[in-house]
């Protein structure tokens, strides 16, 4: 590569870094405003117009905070943990294309892009365990153990669903996968796949309903409890970058990326870029909506949900998609099978949890109306 190419590469990397930072800042602001709307209050609205400079204020506050390091913490592990958590999500972005002309909007679109992405999401799990152990705090150790179990279990559905997408599109190059969806996005063929990837993605990032390992109300921060100031802000940023990554992956793999169905965009880069961003932000808004609505699951319920529900379904998805592709069955059969399984699963879960509770509630109301005073009155 010539000097000019290296120079252009540097520019692209710096632009990527800057773009990601701006996106993360906007996500922080957006989350707080959206949560405020759900909770019937205004979010931040003091710092800057409509509170847009709030993330900047938060960043400055976190940077100037005193960095307290516990005395019995293991220095090397304590210092390395945030780096290991923070760097892989950025490295993933080297290969994710955001518009059709990848010479401008991906630093290096690899042929094995999908594999690269999935391989690197696993690396940051180590950082969490190191944070938990290096903090010399019982709550941190508990959080670190929980996080390992959770994140490893929820990698498997992600990988399996990615494989089933791979079977349909026969390539791991992310740009090719998006270009094959220019008429029909893969959500039509694999709705169950989208659901599984979405749920497992939320669990990977560690958002409600799967944020037990850093839950505030129980173990007061989990592996992050002894980090303060700039150290902690690194973890915080990493979580938002991972959220954005999962949203963009969903957009690229299932929602058609920069294509709008039945409208050909004539290789228009700017419009394609905005279409991708808008689709990712819709997915992110749904993730924020979950945060405002749901309570969190307990660690053993989370694990049994992964191993008993998500993994079998994702394996079934792989099997069905390989059968359909191998025997050249029309792909709509796959979508019908997926929809059937989803409906069946929803029915089973509803009957297992909600129906007995509603029956009990009815019983309680009936007993209330016929309140029996004890004899002796």
């Amino acid at each position: 590569m010539s000097i000019l190419d290296l120079f252009l590469l540097q520019i692209k990397i710096i632009a990527l870094f800057g773009g990601l930072t701006i996106v993360v800042l906007s996500l922080v602001w957006l989350e707080r405003r959206v949560l405020g709307k759900i909770q019937r209050r205004i979010g931040p609205n003091r710092v800057g117009p409509q509170g847009l400079l709030q993330p900047l204020a938060d960043g400055i506050k976190l940077l100037v905070k005193e960095d307290i390091i516990p005395e019995s913490a293991d220095k090397w592990i304590y210092w390395l943990a945030p780096i290991i958590v923070f760097v892989p999500p950025f490295v993933i972005w080297v290969t994710i294309p955001l518009a059709s002309d990848n010479s401008i909007l991906a630093v290096n679109n690899m042929h094995l892009g999908l594999l690269f992405v999935i391989a690197l999401t696993v690396v940051s799990i180590t950082g969490l365990v190191m944070a938990g152990w290096g903090s010399a705090n019982k709550y941190a150790i508990l959080g670190g153990l929980r996080s390992t179990a959770q994140l490893i279990s929820y990698e498997i559905p992600i990988i399996m669903v990615a494989i089933s997408v791979l079977i349909i599109c026969q390539t791991t190059d992310l740009k090719e996968i998006v270009d094959q969806q220019n008429v029909i996005p893969y959500v039509v063929y694999l709705p169950l796949g989208l659901l599984l990837f979405f749920i497992a993605g939320i669990a990977e990032v560690g958002r409600i309903p799967f944020d037990i390992y850093h839950a505030e109300s129980e173990i007061v921060g989990g592996p992050f409890v002894e980090y303060s100031g700039a150290h902690w802000s690194v973890f915080y940023l990493a979580e938002y970058i991972q959220t954005f990554t999962i949203a963009v992956l969903i957009t690229l793999l299932f929602l058609g990326g920069w294509h709008i169905p039945f409208i050909s965009l004539e290789e228009n880069i700017v419009l394609g870029f905005f279409v991708t961003i808008i689709k990712s932000y819709v997915v992110i808004l749904i993730i924020f909506w979950f945060r405002g609505t749901f309570p969190r699951m307990r660690i053993d319920q989370l694990m049994s949900f992964a191993w008993k529900v998500l993994i079998p379904l994702s394996f079934a998805n792989v099997i069905f998609s390989s059968i359909v592709i191998f025997y050249d069955i029309p792909l709509l059969v796959l979508s019908i099978i997926n929809i059937l399984i989803t409906v069946l699963m929803g029915y089973v879960l509803y009957n297992k949890f909600t129906t007995p509770a509603k029956i009990d509630a009815e019983e309680m109301l009936r007993k209330a109306r016929n309140y029996k005073l004890p004899e002796g009155i």
């Binding site: 709550y139 129980e218 879960l349 949890f353 909600t354 509770a357 209330a368 309140y371």
Partner: protein, 370 residues
């Protein structure tokens, strides 16, 4: 520091200390955990002990009402009511009708606001961030009504021996009818958000079970006892004040798990709304306080009076020696007794369940420690 004789070398001691986001006040429990399972729990109380019982031996009866406000600081009117009933029963004073109705309306409103706070903190313990804001929104509306009646949002000092301090403000009735509509919508909204959510059901069904015999043995009262299937509500079993004139239902659960305790309280909000509506129709005009001397001197004797607080059976044992200060004032707080059952409820629980179980007992440290 635990009182176990032999410490198992495998179990870890986890201290959910006096400062913790979900121990509902200054309460400390030491969990002995084996992985994620709780083997034993040792509660430590006394961080908020202010010596209320001893203090009251040096105060005149009218001054003790403020002390009782601060015991269960989420249900101020109910506490004041019990104390005033105790002294009035000793003295044989009969209270005018209007004062009785005002007392009942305010006590039931306080019950509603206390249960809304329970709902909010229950959602918070489970991890949902929205229910607490919904609960507090409705609580704020009730507290502004309290402010218009008694002058303070929380520590009211409004009941007096023989009646209440002042008559209701002139805009009370339109305010309260508006408020009741808002509360009805609020409780429906709250119910639809959390009560039948699959994740919440998973976190609360079959957790913290306590069956009927054990519940009575431990001295549980209030919604905790009713959730275990015992029909024991003092408003119906042993009516005090004017509760026998109202028609309302008492929800009684079946299994005694966390969800039953939660749902019983949500239903109680709806029943309290019914009581308030009936009271508003029946309230007469008249005096608001009986003809009692300003410095009350009950005759010698001792009396025990108890009433149905939002948390259970709040009792006062008053020993009087004829002077203007009580000889001995013993407070029977419901949360103190309910907390004794914590260890029994937490057998076979996970660490995450311990937070939910503690939240479902609904303790207030002000009355546990007095």
């Amino acid at each position: 520091m635990t009182n176990q004789q032999s410490l198992n070398s495998v179990d870890m001691l986890l201290n959910m200390g006096p400062q913790h986001p979900s121990t509902h006040g200054v309460f400390r429990m030491v969990l002995q955990i084996d992985g994620e399972r709780v083997m034993d729990v040792e509660p430590y109380i006394g961080y908020l002990h202010r010596g209320s019982e001893k203090l009251s031996e040096g105060e005149q009866y009218a001054q003790i009402v403020t002390l009782f406000d601060r015991l269960d600081y989420l249900a101020n009117f109910n506490n004041e009511l019990v104390f005033c009933m105790a002294v009035e029963k000793l003295m044989g004073v009969e209270i005018p009708e209007r004062a009785e109705y005002i007392r009942v309306i305010l006590c039931e409103l306080n019950r509603i606001s206390s249960h809304f706070l329970f709902y909010g903190t229950m959602g918070m313990d489970a991890g949902a961030s929205t229910p607490i804001l919904y609960g507090f929104r409705d609580r704020e509306k009730i507290q502004s009504l309290f402010e218009s009646v008694s002058g303070a949002r929380m520590m009211h000092n409004y009941f007096r021996i023989g009646g209440v301090k002042e008559d209701l403000p002139s805009d009370f009735f339109e305010n309260i009818y508006w408020l009741l509509e808002e509360i009805k919508q609020g409780v429906d909204q709250a119910d639809s958000l959390l009560s039948f959510n699959e994740i919440f059901l998973n976190r609360t069904r079959n957790i913290g079970l306590i069956n009927t015999e054990d519940a009575i043995d431990f001295g549980l009262t209030g919604p905790n006892l009713r959730a275990s299937g015992v029909s024991y509500d003092l408003r119906k079993n042993d009516p005090y004040s004017i509760y026998d004139r109202f028609d309302f239902d008492i929800p009684v659960g079946d299994r005694g798990d966390v969800w039953d305790r939660y749902f019983v309280r949500i239903q109680e909000i709806r029943e309290s709304i019914k009581i308030i509506e009936q009271a508003l129709k029946q309230i007469p005009d008249g005096e608001i306080t009986a003809n009692v001397r300003r410095i009350a001197r009950p005759p010698e004797g001792d009396i025990f009076v108890h009433a149905e607080n939002p948390r259970g059976d709040f009792g006062v044992y008053l020993v009087s020696d004829g002077s203007d200060k009580p000889y001995r004032l013993k407070i029977r707080p419901p949360s103190f007794c309910n907390l004794m059952a914590l260890r029994h409820m937490m057998r076979n629980a996970y660490v995450s369940d311990s937070v939910m179980i503690l939240g479902s007992i609904d303790i207030v440290l002000g009355e546990v420690d007095r």
